[in-house]
Symmetry: C2
Subunit: 245 residues, 2 copies
DNA sequence: AACAGTAGATCCATAAAATGGAACTTTGAC
DNA sequence: GTCAAAGTTCCATTTTATGGATCTACTGTT
């Protein structure tokens, strides 16, 4: 087992609910002899992948990691275009926006656009949502075939319900949710892909259920749809379904 | 030389002007036999630290890296507090804000708060600025002693000018710049530290020179100063100089 | 202040992985 | 199709990781 693999596993432990790690935590969570964990963290520290918090024994990702997310975003023309659309839409309506991508059964935000309204959904980059249970996730899952979704969710009892929802997303061209992941929060999401790199992202706008009526919803949907359609046309995304509003 | 060190060196290549890498680039930039570079990138790919862009031979940071910057931010109470202040100040004035920290002679943004004004400075996270040549960098450098600054900038011909500027920052409690790094852009920065972890960050607001007059400048400075002072009091930052406005 | 309990670091022989030069294969341009 | 550049694989050698046990440094308790 390469030490790189172990180092990557340590980095993977930094999830939504884990901001720092100790030798013991690594020992137990990765089921690894503590001698190894101790030396592994030391080596990662020396390489700059980790740093200790103050002079405690808690570790967090090193400053080296701070630029990498930015490099990732810049490397993708798709994300750049999506960012333009989201900041435009976010600015116009004052709600919070995300650009997300799917990793297996989860979606991760790669960029966030905090809203400006007094009552807005607080942006929460780094938090991972189950793809099947969020509008943004379903907009991305809908780009897979039913077979691929079946393979991905093999053994899941709610598979049929999911497939039905995805079928609707494929027809309408967009996904919505109302108070699904978070009470009081609705969202609209549209996915678009870059055929050149085979990557897909979702443009997602989240807003407080209470402050947006049907016509507000439609306006945002139209703005999002216009932006996504423009990207799809520019990149030649043949799998894109122009949203029917 | 540990492979972790080499992997970290590869990650370090992803800077402001480098969004993707090939085997050859790694070979030349790290002066490494191409056999090693090839295997190194392969191992990093398999570990998830890198991914190829589409099916080309260009590499970018893996999706694994997307959460790490967020974990870093969450691990720091200082950054959390600073974020609250910046989003408050950013929202009130509509200008773009940053939270930065110093790494050697450079400053990196760890969080950005895009402005809402029509004419605003576009946020540019991941870009590194020379600490000596930016308000935010000088606000952080001013927290060092003259001896430490001398050691850091040993051999730099502009050292004396820098020390003089830092001395002024230490007196006034804040740093400013006018059209220094970017034409037409001014900024105000105040640094604050957490004595518990020995980390310091700078709260920095950037705005178009043309649209802010002296009283607008003073208002923003006062807001930034109030927020920074609150943080310094909460954390017991004894090195903090309450800004004199 | 002495104590226990726990977290972390270090030591060691063994097992596994990295190294770099060279040969080989693939890719892309003309 | 040909060629040069880019990338991969091979090999013996050197270096590094492994994991059990031991030693050390903290944390909190009485």
């Amino acid at each position: 087992m390469s030490i790189l693999k172990n180092a990557a596993d340590v980095l993977r432990l930094f999830g939504a609910d884990c901001t720092d790690l100790t030798v013991s935590e690594v020992t137990t969570r990765l089921d690894m002899p503590k001698a190894n964990a101790s030396r592994l963290l030391k080596a990662m520290r020396e390489a700059g992948m980790l740093e200790t918090i103050g002079d405690t024994r808690r570790h967090r990702p090193g400053r080296l990691m701070l630029d990498l997310a930015a490099a990732f975003r810049r490397s993708s023309g798709l994300i750049g275009r999506a960012s333009e659309v989201m900041s435009e839409v976010g600015l116009r309506f004052g709600h919070t926006g995300y650009i997300t991508l799917r990793v297996g059964r989860e979606v991760t935000a790669v960029a966030d656009f905090p809203g400006t309204n007094a009552l807005r959904v607080v942006s929460n980059i780094g938090r991972r949502l189950p793809a099947a249970m969020s509008a943004t996730g379903r907009s991305l899952l809908a780009r897979l075939t039913d077979e691929e979704v079946r393979a991905l969710y093999e053994g899941d009892t709610a598979l049929d319900v999911l497939l039905e929802k995805l079928s609707e997303v494929r027809t309408t061209g967009y996904a919505t949710s109302s108070q699904e992941a978070t009470p009081g929060v609705d969202s609209i999401a549209i996915a678009v892909a870059d055929p050149a790199t085979d990557e897909a992202v979702s443009l997602c706008i989240v807003y407080p259920h209470a402050v947006v009526d049907q016509s507000g919803h439609n306006e945002m949907l139209a703005a999002l749809a216009a932006g996504a359609t423009r990207i799809a046309e520019e990149l030649g995304d043949t799998g894109f379904v122009t949203p029917k509003i």
